[in-house]
């Protein structure tokens, strides 16, 4: 049990109702869990709660319990949460420090703040730049990059911190397909080393590619939870506002036309 929610609800300050409610979830070591659902179903709120930012930085009322590695983290300060649970949000411009002159410094920023030795920070920074395929951007000004490049820089900074657990809110929203694949590969690598990862994502092709388990939220509650291939082929996805993955959609289109032809099983959407 790595990240766990027991009967968790979250009501933002000033709101009259909870944005997520009665959510229970136990993640396992090395598990990549996808989180889907229509806009405003509660995906981002789940990410804020799991990362500890709600209620520590984003004010509101948390009910239920968040456990990290079996420990109730209610009393943990934000910096302690941040060391254990790394987070990325969909908008990279709010994620970058804004104080670093180069991409290299930006990617160092988080792990420097962990108080690591200089050599270690530098090694990790090179490794993270390499994993995101942005080595050639190292000397560039982060504020002058394209949206997708900024997103890769933000993710590289997170990877360099080597958090035990990761919570990612649409980390590839502005990425080109190649960037998306790099992120998917980096996440798979981290999971293989035992990190548990929760990734909120509208791109169900991405979830199909990297997740072993998928949860679907509707109006703040988990309504589907199971093996990725089962949940992503569930006929209820449309009604829940979740686009079916490409392979599922094509299969359905063929079935509707009465064509029983098998599709190549090894093609990744």
């Amino acid at each position: 049990m790595t990240l766990a929610l027991h009967g968790v609800g979250y009501r933002y300050a000033g709101a009259s109702t909870e944005s997520i409610t009665g959510v229970s979830l136990e993640m396992r070591d090395g598990e990549v869990v996808g989180l889907g659902g229509a806009s405003e179903a509660g995906k981002s709120t789940m990410c804020l709660v799991l990362s500890g930012l709600a209620p520590r930085a984003i004010k509101g009322v948390l009910s239920g319990t968040l456990l990290v590695d079996g420990e109730d983290v209610t009393a943990w300060p934000m910096h302690r949460m941040a060391e254990v649970v790394g987070t990325i949000f969909q908008d990279p411009t709010t994620q970058l420090s804004g104080v670093c002159a180069t991409v290299f410094e930006e990617v160092c920023f988080g792990s420097m703040n962990l108080g690591l030795a200089r050599d270690k920070v530098i090694d990790r920074t090179y490794a993270a730049l390499d994993a995101m395929g942005i080595g050639e951007l190292a000397a560039r000004d982060p504020s002058r990059l394209s949206g997708g490049q900024m997103q890769l820089v933000a993710i590289a900074g997170l990877l360099a911190m080597r958090p035990r657990h990761l919570v990612l809110d649409e980390p590839t929203a502005q990425l080109d397909p190649a960037g998306t694949v790099l992120v998917a590969d980096a996440l798979a690598h981290l999971a293989a080393e035992g990190a548990s990862i929760l990734i909120a994502e509208q791109k169900t092709d991405m979830l199909a590619r990297i997740c072993s388990r998928v949860l679907i939220l509707e109006s703040g509650r988990i309504v589907l939870d199971g093996a990725a291939e089962d949940v992503l082929a569930d006929a209820r996805l449309d009604a829940l506002g979740v686009p079916a993955p490409s392979a599922v959609r094509l299969r359905r289109a063929l079935d509707a036309a009465g064509l029983a032809t098998d599709l190549p099983a090894d093609l990744v959407a």
Binding site: D91, T93, G147, Q149, A173, Q174, Q202, S246, L259
Partner: protein, 279 residues
């Protein structure tokens, strides 16, 4: 209606730095649905910002209906081309959804009744008609994105540029954006959309322009740009044809950029006598 022509367009952000746009020649006719695709940093957004004068060419020209954009102010260009940015929060500034969408029409000097109609129509198109008095920042990211699209629609310009309009959209949001693109084109307005979603591009655009390192490397209908003959070029800018195109190639169906095309090609193979269904 407005024809957009780029003549050998070059843009460098600082002297001696990389050419973000490096010699692009394009002609886009009115009512065309054009998707601009390419790797992050390939120059798509830089190119788009030239269309409404937010950026001026370092070299070359932008012509709108034959008139050099350089001779027009940003305010004048705003009547012809409206651009919706990738980063919503750099665009939104008003205290309510209604005021945000009304800003453009008011600045263009539309009469009050036309303004109201333009705002209502735009909010209806994005499904935010019930939110006119809501603070934009009380909307989630995906609805803020739709709000920025509404602001651009309300300006009723002949050319609409959408920078990654489907980012963060759920299934319903994707459908809304697709409907908006189709309606704009049906009204004879030009839609130029930047997107990383090859499925969306293949299904809803008639022309796909692929950029790499500031240059146009492919330009044609989805059936050509996503056909296997173009795959090496796509791969050189780290793009991949959408899933149905790859399925079609594997199954020797020819170029099938959409599900509809796969169904039609397989149907024709299984029932050779029957005519192909409408694509």
């Amino acid at each position: 209606m407005t024809t957009v022509v780029l003549e050998d367009l070059v843009h460098t952000y600082a002297e001696g730095s990389v050419r973000a746009v490096d010699g692009v020649d394009l002609r886009i006719g009115s009512g065309e649905r054009v998707a601009l695709v390419g790797q992050n940093g390939s120059g798509k957004s830089t190119l788009a910002r030239h269309l409404n004068g937010l950026l001026r060419p370092t070299d070359g020209r932008v012509l709108l209906d034959g008139v050099d954009a350089r001779t027009r102010t940003v305010a004048q260009l705003a009547r012809a081309v409206a651009v919706c940015f990738q980063d919503t929060d750099r665009q939104i500034f008003a205290g309510s959804v209604g005021k945000e969408v009304a800003f453009g029409p008011r600045n263009l000097g539309m009469p009050a009744d036309v303004q109201r109609a333009a705002v209502t129509e735009a909010l209806d198109a994005v499904g935010l008609a019930a939110e006119t008095s809501t603070n934009p920042y009380d909307l989630g990211y995906s609805r803020r994105k739709l709000l920025t699209i509404a602001s651009v629609l309300a300006m009723r310009t002949p050319v609409v540029v959408l920078d990654e309009p489907t980012t963060g959209q759920d299934a319903r949001g994707m459908d809304r954006v697709a409907t908006i693109v189709a309606r704009l084109a049906a009204d004879g307005r030009t839609v130029i959309a930047i997107s990383h979603d090859m499925r969306f591009v293949a299904e809803h655009f008639e022309r796909v322009i692929v950029m790499r390192a500031g240059k146009v490397v492919l330009d044609g209908p989805p059936v050509a740009v996503f056909g296997s003959a173009a795959w090496d070029t796509l791969a050189s800018t780290y793009l991949e044809a959408p899933y149905p195109a790859r399925v079609g190639q594997r199954m020797s169906l020819g170029s099938t950029p959409t599900d509809v095309a796969v169904v039609a090609a397989l149907g024709a193979r299984v029932h050779p006598g029957r005519s192909r269904p409408d694509a």
